[in-house]
Symmetry: C2
Subunit: 188 residues, 2 copies
């Protein structure tokens, strides 16, 4: 792996673990096994490197979600597969955590990939839910847009609850809860 690759990967890890404010160029260099000179040769500075890292993480997150969304089964089955997918719950969401970083949110360039990721997720889930409703899988009263946001929020909030409790239990509860509510829509 090239030095610039290693720098990006190290930055991705550190942003996930410690956020933007908590990640120093020095820490990045050490983890990547690169010197100062290398880093400032390949990137103009911390924001530039962070941007590359955030873009890649966002892209990866969308790709992984799409795997479940375009998988086999009914809409409810695909949404369940997405929600129940193996996740490193206590580490939280590498994209969602950035929303708590004032320096990320304040910089339009850094916030953009985060914004786009959640916008895409919500739209994709809304389309799925609308398709399910069309097929009679869900009650006509179900609001696809609102419910899509709810589903994404349950995941993001589930991570928060898990980290607060230092246990993945509340995350799984929250997912179970929203799936139960969706199933009731189904069973009517």
């Amino acid at each position: 792996m090239s030095t610039s690759e290693r720098l990006i990967e190290s930055t991705r890890e550190l942003l996930w673990e410690r956020g933007y404010v908590g990640t120093s160029p020095k820490a990045i260099q050490q983890r990547a096994g690169a010197g100062q000179g290398s880093m400032y040769h390949h990137f103009t500075g911390k924001p530039d490197l962070a941007l590359a890292a955030i873009r890649r993480t966002a892209e990866e997150m969308r790709a992984k979600a799409e795997e479940q969304f375009s998988g086999p089964g009914t809409v409810l089955e695909r949404i369940s597969a997405y929600l129940l997918r193996e996740r490193d719950v206590l580490r939280g969401c590498p994209v969602g955590r950035l929303t708590q970083d004032p320096d990320v949110v304040a910089d339009p360039a850094l916030r953009a990939p985060v914004d786009e990721t959640f916008a895409w997720l919500r739209a994709r889930l809304a389309a799925l839910l609308a398709e399910g409703r069309e097929r009679g899988e869900f009650a006509a009263a179900l609001d696809p847009d609102a419910t899509a946001s709810t589903v994404v929020a349950v995941l993001q909030g589930g991570y928060v609850l898990a980290r607060a409790a230092d246990s993945s239990e509340p995350f799984h509860r929250a997912v179970e809860g929203v799936l139960g509510l969706l199933r009731q829509q189904h069973a009517r």
Copy 2:
């Protein structure tokens, strides 16, 4: 207001805005209009002051939630009142944001108030939901514990989506979505 009071209040604001890592003693002192000496006279250091601030914020959050929970109306009405309460959405949750602070989560003393707050919230909502089910407000199939976690997660995740989009819209969508799902439980 006493100096020590002002230090705590300034810390609360800064923790909310910038998190633990992003908040320096110097910034706290400046906002409080206090010198270094004052701060280190009243508190042993940054963690000590943060603990006082976090405790107070957590307490306040529980008190505000309890206002809605013990208010008038059916269970669904009280939960709706809680979810629809006026909130400063783009600022996020002052307690939930701490879960993204590695230094807070790593320190049992700092994490404790955060943990207790969400544990209390989930238990309180679960009790309400169980009461509603008992009264026939909700389907017998509703799982109070899981649904309680879902409701709390929707709020916490709603904040994440709002900050990502730099708009309170996704927050309100997510709330609307979960309320819709709860109402369907009701209308059956």
